[in-house]
């Protein structure tokens, strides 16, 4: 019998029951929540007079609507304030293991605070009403986004009704060059397989280039699995995972720790496990990536040129390119490095962890934002990340370079708060989606790594960050 994949092991160890058509009831260990996708679920619970099955599985935070400056003013927009207050009320009424309300010193983006507090552990199932829940797969965790009806289902039953996905192995072998990051790996994978390439799959990332990434880098890779269409990204736990988790607030302690570490060592895919699909990339072939269009698959190496629709044979794809070029205000065949930016955003659940900020600061140090760039926002992923960065003096590097150092939150990744692009503005962003209007109506987003974003802020246009070391 063939061995099991990491995904098989996670799935099999959480089956409560299975129907003849393969529909399973899957037990959920951790339920992450934020203010945007939970109010209707709590309301449903209230209407049915139901209580949470296991309130100690809940980790909650307000992150999408919260401002990143002038916290003393509170949330000015009434409808956004009501949504955040509704989360306060719901958690007070229904309970949670951890709740960081707006202005709490540990508040931050749900996908940053989960791991940093040790509430995401290998072997778990983790869900959240948020597609970037795939981030937590970096710990050897089965983690994926769900809709609000499923949020209510998990609240009420601690389970999800689901069918097993197929499993794809994305193997990246070799050594990444300096200035080439986890973000570039992920964007290169999306460029290769497309935004629907992972639909119906969980993607396990493996190979020496993945193993050599820090936990922060692994979170970036798994975070972007959803942009390749895969609900879940996975990376096998190893000594780096164990070292990251040791001593965190909710990590196991004492005997439990030893038992947990021994269990986690059994999780990696067996050597004779088989996958439903396989994709291989060489790390040496990956250059810093820049998206040029309105879908994350519309991505190129920084040395490339904007595509020409005339060269595309497929009519639907050609129309897609034409539409994207029109929306993005770009000309066919222009070099990526000639694209000028108006704003830069360094943050989001993709790239707001301490390592991302160190990388951006490494480029910003001793340099100045280009005069033509209107604003550079640096938004740490959490209160803990913010304090760590300040202890290392990164905030001073950013402000000296003319960047703005903000309070934690989702910020201009999706522009639900006041941080946004105005129509026509162009942004180098470390976030995860370059969809039309994502960072503000009419805004134009180019996805890049923190290093590339900082470099664009300095130059005023995209540059190959490898030339700046």
């Amino acid at each position: 019998m063939a061995g099991k994949t990491l995904y098989d092991k996670l799935w099999d160890s959480h089956i409560v029951s299975e129907e003849s058509d393969g529909t399973c009831l899957i037990y959920i260990d951790r339920h992450l929540m934020h203010e945007v996708t939970s109010p209707q679920a709590f309301e449903g619970m209230r209407l049915a007079s139901r209580l949470p099955w296991r309130k100690d599985s809940i980790v909650a935070v307000a992150d999408h609507n919260t401002p990143t400056d002038h916290w003393e003013k509170g949330i000015e927009e009434p409808i956004a304030r009501l949504q955040v207050e509704t989360l306060d009320t719901n958690i007070k009424e229904f309970g949670a293991l951890v709740y960081f309300p707006f202005k709490h010193e540990n508040q931050g983006i749900i996908h940053v605070i989960g791991p940093e507090n040790g509430t995401t552990l290998p072997g778990m199932t983790v869900v959240c009403g948020d597609s970037h829940t795939s981030t937590h797969g970096a710990f050897g965790t089965l983690a994926h986004g769900i809709g609000t009806s499923e949020v209510e289902h998990v609240l009420a039953t601690q389970t999800l009704v689901a069918k097993k996905s197929k499993c794809m192995l994305v193997r990246v072998e070799g050594n990444l060059g300096q200035g080439v990051t986890a973000k570039d790996i992920a964007l290169a994978v999306i460029g290769r397989i497309g935004t629907a390439g992972g639909t119906g799959f969980a993607i396990e990332f493996g190979g020496t280039a993945i193993r050599s990434l820090s936990m922060e880098g692994r979170m970036t890779v798994c975070n972007l699995a959803i942009e390749a269409g895969a609900r879940a990204g996975l990376i096998a736990p190893d000594e780096k995972t164990v070292a990251y988790l040791k001593g965190r607030t909710f990590s196991p302690k004492g005997q439990d720790w030893d038992r947990a570490v021994a269990y986690w060592a059994t999780l990696p895919s067996d050597v004779d496990a088989s996958f439903d699909a396989m994709v291989e990339l060489k790390a040496e072939d990956i250059a810093p990536q820049v998206t040029w269009g309105t879908s994350p698959e519309q991505v190129l190496a920084v040395g490339g040129r904007v595509p020409n629709p005339a060269a595309e044979a497929d009519p639907i794809r050609r129309l897609g390119i034409e539409r994207a070029l029109h929306y993005m205000g770009l000309t066919a065949d222009m070099p990526i490095t000639e694209i000028k930016v108006d704003k830069v955003f360094i943050g989001s659940c993709t790239n707001s962890r301490i390592e991302d900020l160190r990388a951006a600061a490494g480029i910003a140090k001793g340099r100045q934002k280009a005069a033509s760039v209107n604003q550079v926002l640096v938004v740490p992923g959490s209160g803990q990340v913010k304090r760590q960065a300040e202890a290392e003096g990164l905030d001073k590097i950013f402000t000296a370079a003319g960047f703005e150092w903000r309070e934690p939150g989702c910020s201009m990744c999706l522009a639900m708060n006041a941080d946004r692009l105005i129509p026509g503005e162009r942004c180098a962003s470390t976030s995860n989606r370059n969809f039309e209007g994502r960072q503000g109506p009419g805004g134009r987003t180019h996805l890049v790594s923190p290093e590339m974003a900082a470099a664009a802020a300095i130059a005023g246009h995209f540059v190959d960050v490898r030339n700046l070391y």
Binding site: G129, I146, L414, A415
Partner: protein, 212 residues
């Protein structure tokens, strides 16, 4: 949840691939804590010429004449015809809420994004995966006809074209059962509460740290 059994409905063709949930319902409308009222803001940035905000009276907003859904003939559309990877991006259930709120009951596409696909079933919406060449034909015929109607029968898992040609589609027995009967999935799952408790006890003894 409301049930879905069958429908003879007007088709609205949305000729774009990779339509994401940000396009289906932009972020500013996600600030609502309600489950309804999203229909007028469906495809907001494509549908209107001005910038939409929650609680706006959409009957007074300038419509984008180039967006097909604004044509009078599509006012009563109930079947949304789409291209590949429909519903990609964010997991927001506000997307199916907006589609359902507009009046659509069925979505036909060559492929859907996973989370969106699952969210549809929770809201009485039937997403149908159809082969690419057939979708191509539906686009051609619906764009050429003033009132292109399809007949969708969930019990028989069959879609019939105006010509009388028909095609079948897949759906899991569990989803079909829930949709046909408009069942509350939570109620169904709670019938297995004993199994959940038994699993939980085993899980806790194997990995006690998960319950600390």
């Amino acid at each position: 949840m409301k049930s879905f059994k069958q429908l003879k409905g007007l088709v609205f063709p949305l000729d774009r691939a990779n339509v994401d949930t940000d396009a289906i319902i932009p972020k500013q409308f996600l600030k609502s804590i309600k489950r309804s009222g999203f229909g007028p803001y469906l495809f907001d940035e494509w549908r209107y010429l001005d910038h939409g905000e929650p609680d706006m009276d959409c009957t007074k907003r300038p419509l984008n004449p180039d967006f097909l859904l604004n044509q009078t003939r599509y006012r009563t559309a109930q079947i949304l015809l789409a291209r590949d990877n429909f519903g990609c991006g964010s997991s927001r259930e506000h997307a199916p809420w907006a589609i359902e709120g507009f009046g659509f009951q069925v979505i036909i596409a060559p492929s859907f994004a996973d989370i969106f696909f699952g969210n549809c079933y929770k809201n009485g919406l039937l997403p149908i995966v159809a082969p690419a060449d057939l979708v191509e034909r539906l686009f051609r015929e619906s764009l050429a006809s003033e009132a292109y109607l399809l007949e969708v029968d969930l019990e028989r898992q069959k879609v019939t074209l105006p010509s009388g040609d028909a095609f079948g589609f897949d759906i899991t027995p569990h989803r079909k059962h829930c949709l046909l009967n408009g069942l509350d999935e939570i109620g169904l799952t709670l019938q297995q509460a004993d199994k959940i408790r038994a699993f939980e006890a085993r899980h806790k003894s194997a990995q006690p740290w998960l319950f600390a």
